[in-house]
Assembly symmetry: C2
Homo-oligomer: 271 residues x 2
């Protein structure tokens, strides 16, 4: 048996390499056959060759059949299938370990908070997520998502604050350094679009994040430029990152060129 | 046993997770112990915690110990360890298959030509690399590198032309579509720095590459901005990529923000 991931829904089902039939429920189609059809169509479209047992499984017992290559998260971004947030989460996983302290500077609807909690949660409950949002609605949404997704013990590792992220140092203890500080800027999805993050406080928050960041830690920012004020905020962040000393920081960005309103991902890594 | 990759030389040796000793020859140090020391130093430097069996192998029988994460090529770029060319080669590998036709639009000293040949070479010799450079010295260097690195049969899959890459359609047969067209712009490393690629011909070559590209194929460009004329060339390419229709093309760039002269990597993927 081997696990195959659906290239669209990123969920796995068990497959028999001999019969090419699913042996567990497929996650995102009504029948195993339809699910396999989805994979085959996707593979053919992107590889211009049929998705057969020979091509997909060079060794029938391989744990990483070649179709999994197609839907790798980082490559998915380059080839246009994946969102910026998926790329950001992938990079976070390379930095964050269980037991770490991390900061979600913009809780929003809680998706990033939840992803971070899953990365730091450990049996000893030494991991910790500090979450910030100026909107009570955002913190309520985050809290509800956590209620639905994790145990009460795990939820206790998350501390939510309805204050501006530029004041993160007011609540995160002096002796706690963060492995990750993540920003997902703009407005609350589904909320009031006139309430947006603004360059002045975003830059103050980035400076606070710098001071709170452990060596080897990462500041991650997803910046939206499609709403009024977005481009100004992006310009301020790019200017901020460009001025950091290259001996201590590596700052890079991933940007889609032919979709002007696509979010831009900025990583600021403390060496 | 498990395979561990050296974070510097990208080669693997077999290791025993119980004893933390190498059981096959280490690829890039005189003794297994020295090789493990290299890995440990690297891990400590980048993760600020000792590289122990517990940390490196969360499950002792895991096929992907966490140290391999540290030296992943794409992540290495974000964290400042790897070069732009390494990221480009990694992305090429996701697109190119043995038997493909590919085009090296700027042979230079032949490193990219060689990397491409290794991706397309197959027993039936149906794979093909078309290489272009206006400098005879570059083609000589490329030919010598191939002589040193591959068999005569493999070398025959490479066709080198001392013409401008904007004329690639003059020599690549009409019925041959390329899976990859790669540009590594600027001047010949070690050569005459006044001979550089120029925006006018680079854009003509990119347009030719578009016409020669198979569906699902990739145009890859590493653009240097540290030499006179580099920024103008980069601006022209960015402008070109930005105007491609998002329904048919995904264009993105990876850029280091706090090293103004660092090369910029642009990928143009035909959907």
């Amino acid at each position: 048996m081997m696990a195959l991931r659906c290239p669209i829904h990123k969920a796995s089902a068990l497959f028999s390499p001999q019969t090419m039939k699913a042996v567990s429920s497929p996650p995102c189609a009504s029948t195993p056959r339809k699910w396999l059809h989805t994979c085959k169509t996707f593979f053919l479209q992107h590889h211009r060759q049929p998705y057969t047992a020979n091509i997909a499984f060079s060794a029938s017992a391989s744990a990483s059949p070649s179709i999994s290559v197609v839907d790798d998260d980082a490559m998915g971004y380059i080839f246009g299938h994946n969102k910026a947030t998926q790329v950001a989460h992938l990079v976070w996983k390379y930095v964050v370990r269980s037991g770490d302290t991390v900061i979600d500077a913009t809780c929003g609807n809680g998706n990033d908070t939840l992803a971070m909690l899953r990365m730091v949660a450990d049996d000893s409950a030494s991991g910790c997520v500090y979450g910030f949002d100026i909107q009570q609605q955002a913190l309520r949404n985050t809290s509800l998502l956590l209620d639905d997704s994790v145990t009460p013990e795990e939820k206790q590792m998350v501390k939510l604050y309805a204050i501006c992220h530029s004041r993160m140092e007011d609540v995160v203890p002096v002796d706690k350094l963060a492995r990750l500080v993540a920003f997902n800027l703009g407005y609350l999805p589904g909320g009031e679009k006139s309430i947006i993050t603004r360059p002045e406080t975003t830059i103050l928050a980035l400076k606070a994040a710098q001071r709170k960041l452990a060596i080897g830690g990462l500041i991650s920012a997803i910046v939206y430029v499609g709403h009024p004020g977005g481009r100004e905020e992006y310009a301020a962040i790019e200017d901020f990152a460009s001025q950091l000393h290259a001996d201590e920081w590596k700052c890079c960005k991933f940007q889609t060129l032919n979709r002007p309103a696509a979010p831009i991902v900025i990583f600021i890594f403390r060496k």
